[in-house]
Amino acid sequence: MKPETTNGISDELLQRYFDGELSPNERAQVEARLDGDARLKLDALGEMRVLFRAELSPETPALDFSSTFDAISHAPIVASVPAARRRRFLPMSAAGGLMAAAAALFLFLRPVAPTMNVQNAASVEMLEAEGTLASVFQIENGGEHATVIWNDATPSSQGEVP
C-alpha cells in the first residue's frame, strides 16, 4: 500500500478507520487529525460503499433449497476426508509389479547346492516401447544367467491420474 498521508494520517490508517478496525485510542487520534482532505476521502469511500451495496445486494430472493437439504439429510455423514487428492490406485499395475518382484526374488534367492561357488546378482530395468511398459530382470546365479521380461499394463490402460 502506498504510504500516502493526509495531515499525518496514512491512507492505510484512514481505510482502517473507515472500516471500524481501529482501537478506541487509535480512533480518537485519527479523529483529532481529520482535516478537509481526509474527510473528503472518507466521503468518497462511503459513496463507494453505498453504490457497491446497492448494486450487489439489490434484491432478496426467496430461496428454496429444500430438495438439496432433503437429499443431504438422507446422505450419510462422511466420516473422514482424505487430506489431499491421491493418485488413483492402479490395481493391474500394482499386481503386475508385485508378481514381477516376487519372480525376481524367487530366482535370486532360490537355494543352490552348498558346494557351488555362487555369485548372485540381479538388475532391473524399465523399458518402454510403443506405449508399453516392461520390466527386464537380469539374474546372474553362479554362472547361470536368466532374463525375465515382465510386461506392465500400457499407460492408456491405467486410467487418467488426477
Binding site: 500500500m1 502506498k2 504510504p3 500516502e4 493526509t6 491512507d11 492505510e12 484512514l14 481505510q15 482502517r16 472500516d19 478496525e21 482532505d37 473528503l40 476521502k41 466521503d43 468518497a44 469511500l45 459513496e47 463507494m48 460503499r49 453505498v50 453504490l51 457497491f52 451495496r53 446497492a54 448494486e55 450487489l56 445486494s57 439489490p58 434484491e59 432478496t60 430472493p61 426467496a62 430461496l63 428454496d64 433449497f65 430438495s67 438439496t68 437439504f69 443431504i72 439429510s73 438422507h74 446422505a75 455423514i77 462422511v78 466420516a79 473422514s80 476426508v81 487430506a83
Partner: protein
C-alpha cells in the same frame, strides 16, 4: 431450486437494533449455537447439519450472487457448496467459525465459476490482480466524490451502467474482498479466514480494489485522467505491505 424475487429489503447500512453491544452478543450466541450444531452433525445428526445449512443459505447465496452477478449461477454454486460442506464436515475444525468456512467454500467455488466463464486462469496474485483490473491506479485514495444522490443511485441508468462495467472489470481477488467487506460486512480477520491469507493482504487488496473502483467511476463520469497514475508503483507497494 426455485428463486422468486421479493421486494427490496431496507438498506444494509442501517445499524442493528440495540446497538453494537447487542449485535456482538447476538453474534456470540449464534457462534455458540453453530458450534453445538456442528458437534451434533459430526456425531451423525443429519437434522443438525440441515439446520446449519438453512441458517446460512441466504448469506451463502448473497456471497455467490455478489461474486457471480447471476442468480442461476449463484444457485448452482450454493448447491455445490452445501454438498461440499457435507462431504468435508469431518475435516472442519469445530473451533473455527462455521460461516467463515462456508464462505470460504462458496468463494472458492465462485472463483472457479468466474474462471470458467472467463475462460482463463485466475490467480490470487496481488500484483497480477492489480494489473488484471486494468484500471488507471491512483497513488492514494481519491478525495474526489462522484457526487450522486445515494437515494437516487439505482435510478441513475448511466451510473449503474458504469458501476456494472467497473465491477465486471475487477479481478476475482478484488471482487472477493469488496463483496466480503462492503456487502457482507465482515471484519478483516474474518475476511482473512475466508480467503486464507493475512490481514495485511486483505487490507492491501481492499485498498487497491477501492482505488480501482474509484478510478473507473471517476473516469467514466468524465473525470478523464485526473486519477490516473503509474500502476507499477502501486503493484510494488502492495507486495511490500503484506504482513
Amino acid at each position: 431450486v426455485q428463486i422468486a424475487m421479493q421486494p427490496r429489503i431496507p438498506h444494509m447500512l442501517a445499524p442493528p437494533p440495540g446497538g453494537a453491544d447487542a449485535a456482538a452478543a447476538a453474534r456470540e450466541q449464534a457462534r455458540e449455537e453453530d458450534r453445538a450444531l456442528v458437534r451434533r452433525a459430526k456425531e451423525g445428526d443429519r437434522a443438525a447439519f440441515a439446520t446449519l445449512l438453512r441458517r446460512y443459505e441466504r448469506r451463502v447465496f448473497h456471497v455467490a450472487n455478489a461474486m457471480l452477478r447471476n442468480a442461476d449461477d449463484a444457485k448452482d454454486v450454493c448447491q455445490e457448496a452445501f454438498w461440499k460442506a457435507h462431504n468435508a464436515l469431518a475435516s472442519f475444525d469445530g473451533n473455527a467459525q462455521f460461516f467463515t468456512w462456508m464462505y470460504r467454500i462458496t468463494v472458492n467455488l465462485s472463483i472457479d465459476y468466474l474462471r470458467k466463464r472467463r475462460g482463463e486462469r485466475v490467480e490470487f496474485d496481488d500484483a497480477r490482480a492489480n494489473g488484471e483490473d486494468g484500471a488507471a491506479d491512483p497513488t492514494g485514495l481519491s478525495p474526489r466524490r462522484l457526487g450522486f444522490d445515494p437515494h437516487q443511485a439505482l435510478e441513475d441508468v448511466e451510473l449503474r451502467k458504469h458501476l456494472t462495467a467497473a465491477i465486471d472489470k475487477l479481478s476475482p481477488a478484488h471482487r472477493t474482498v469488496l463483496v466480503l467487506r462492503e456487502v457482507e460486512g465482515l471484519a478483516y480477520q474474518e475476511m482473512a479466514d475466508v480467503v486464507g491469507c493475512s490481514i495485511g493482504t486483505i487490507m492491501s487488496r481492499l485498498f487497491h480494489a477501492r482505488k480501482n473502483m474509484q478510478a473507473y467511476l471517476l473516469e467514466a463520469q468524465g473525470g478523464g485522467k485526473v486519477v490516473a497514475h503509474a500502476l507499477a508503483d502501486a503493484e510494488g507497494a502492495e507486495e511490500g505491505n503484506k504482513s
